[in-house]
């Protein structure tokens, strides 16, 4: 082998190595969400659900069922529909047991989200009993957002958040980011749900 051929060979091998390394770096899956365990002091506020009924948030959260809570709004374009599709699918997967988990969606746009708007929204996502959409005064909604470290001054600046709590526990699992069904089901099962 001549010196020139050697150099070409080394170059080719180096290039292949670079190429492979680059591919590997790209295909390495980044975690798409952040999970943490938190404690929250749920404020004692009375909110209004999709049927126009008054609901004490503390009572709904401590009704003896596992709870999943998110913050959405009826006219949301990108994040909320996907979060809600996750709730729809969870209820579908649970089938007969759908009402054994309490799903709570709290609006971050109480000025617009009236019970009628929220009822339409739930219908669009084929919600079954056990999924409540709550609105209230701006003051109370802000208190709830702040209590869960989810306050946004502007609804357009919100972010995907799902909070889960087992019955008789004061610990919340906080999931920041979009998650698929497998993560949602796993987290739900860990709460003691079936």
């Amino acid at each position: 082998m001549t010196k020139k051929q050697n150099i070409i060979l080394i170059m080719v091998v180096t290039l292949i190595c670079i190429f492979v390394a680059e591919r590997a770096a790209f295909s390495e899956s980044k975690p798409t969400y952040k999970r943490s365990i938190e404690k929250y002091a749920v404020p004692d506020v009375t909110l209004v659900n999709q049927d126009g009924k008054k609901v004490k948030l503390v009572s709904l959260i401590n009704s003896g069922k596992p709870v999943m809570l998110d913050f959405i709004y009826g006219t949301c374009t990108t994040i909320c529909p996907v979060l809600s599709a996750g709730f729809t699918n969870l209820q579908n997967r649970l089938g007969q047991d759908a009402a054994k988990v309490q799903l709570i969606s709290v609006t971050i746009d109480p000025e617009y989200d009236t019970p009628a708007v929220m009822k339409d929204y739930l219908k669009r996502f084929r919600a079954k009993p056990g999924w409540d959409f709550l609105t209230g005064s701006r003051e109370n909604i802000d208190r709830v957002m702040r209590a869960f470290n989810a306050y946004v001054p502007n609804k357009m600046a919100h972010y995907p958040l799902t909070l889960l709590k087992a019955p008789n526990s004061d610990q919340w699992v906080r999931i920041y980011g979009m998650v698929g069904m497998s993560v949602l089901m796993t987290e739900y099962k860990e709460l003691g749900g079936k």
Binding site: L15, T77, P81, R124, M181
Partner: protein
């Protein structure tokens, strides 16, 4: 536009060739637009000639690349002929595509099925393309999620990672500061793949929040045709330089009330038009420069005066619109209720 895409494929192949010659892929730049093609071609030809003198092996590589190039052009020619779905007029295809895009309803009348976030089944009645990418197809930003533009003009050319430069600026910059492609231009085929399988022309996976749509070949053809034509022209009332608005004033409105409506609007328009050249100039140095530049068109405000009984107002307004369409109505005032 079609030609631009074809040239783009050739450019990509030429870049591939450059990479084989040992140029670092990180420093390769895909030119922003076809105008830059000839300069680039010249450069690459020089590269080819240099390669030939270096080694005979390179000559065989060149031959192989030429063959691939030929077949690529051939396959593209086939791609082009498939734009309008068979048996449909242009209007029918656009109408069916619009229902899919805006309402998530297939030509069969059923909602489209899709999978989002990897394993969450969703259907078109829950949300549609237009929810995130907007009716205009110009895209949106909500919270932490960016929904890129989905109209043909943007899809069928490459998307830059940062600032798009003029040819002159590009030459004066070291290669590492030049904008790189986030993705190459789509073709009908790769766009269909993106919608169905969530993969961009470079083989990169789209964010899982973009649903993977279960669409048949013909449905995809219709949707792709619709996207190609989406927002291909500015909305009525918008020209290259101006956005026209109107406000409505009924007869018999007191001068005081009239001023209360008109003066703030007129002042805003005047003030904004006075600042527009400054913003336009500044936009040239910023991210999304092109969008910013266009959003600083000057504004014009028409006064649509209504006369006679309210029953005739509708036809009066329609006549105004027909004469000179406006992009939007900004408020207005009449005696009594609308």
């Amino acid at each position: 536009m079609e030609r631009g895409v074809e040239e783009h494929r050739i450019i990509r192949l030429l870049i591939l060739l450059r990479r084989q010659r040992g140029d670092s892929p990180r420093n390769s730049v895909i030119p922003a637009c076809p105008e830059s093609f000839s300069a680039f071609q010249k450069d690459s030809r020089r590269a080819l000639l240099a390669g030939m003198t270096n080694s005979r092996h390179i000559v065989s590589v060149v031959m192989v690349v030429l063959v691939i190039l030929g077949s690529a052009i051939h396959s593209f020619a086939a791609d082009k002929s498939s734009s309008l779905p068979k048996g449909l007029s242009k209007e029918e295809a656009i109408r069916l595509g619009e229902v899919m895009y805006r309402d998530g309803i297939l030509p069969s009348g059923e909602p489209v099925q899709a999978v989002v976030e990897g394993d969450i089944p969703v259907e078109g009645s829950m949300f549609s393309c237009a929810h995130c990418h907007m009716r205009s197809g110009l895209g949106s930003v909500e919270g932490t999620i960016i929904s890129p533009a989905t109209n043909g003009e943007k899809l069928y050319r490459s998307r830059k990672g940062g600032q798009e430069f003029t040819e002159q600026q590009k030459e004066s910059l070291p290669s590492r500061f030049r904008a790189r492609d986030i993705r190459a231009a789509y073709t009908d085929k790769t766009l269909a793949q993106a919608i169905r399988a969530g993969v961009d022309p470079g083989g990169k996976k789209l964010d899982p929040i973009m649903p993977r749509y279960q669409l048949g070949g013909r449905e995809l053809q219709i949707l792709v045709y619709y996207l190609k034509n989406l927002s291909s022209e500015p909305s009525p009332g918008v020209t290259e330089t101006t956005i026209r608005f109107a406000t409505v004033v009924g007869e018999g409105v007191s001068r005081e009330d009239r001023d209360a409506v008109l003066l703030p609007l007129e002042t805003y328009v005047r003030d904004r038009n006075a600042r527009a050249p400054y913003y336009k100039a500044r936009a040239g140095y910023r991210l999304f420069a092109e969008e910013m530049d266009r959003s600083y068109r000057s504004l014009s405000l028409q006064k649509w005066e209504l006369k006679g009984p309210p029953a005739t107002w509708r036809s009066q307004l329609e006549a105004y619109y027909k004469k000179e369409p406006v992009f939007a109505l900004l408020g207005g005032i009449v005696e009594g209720s609308w």
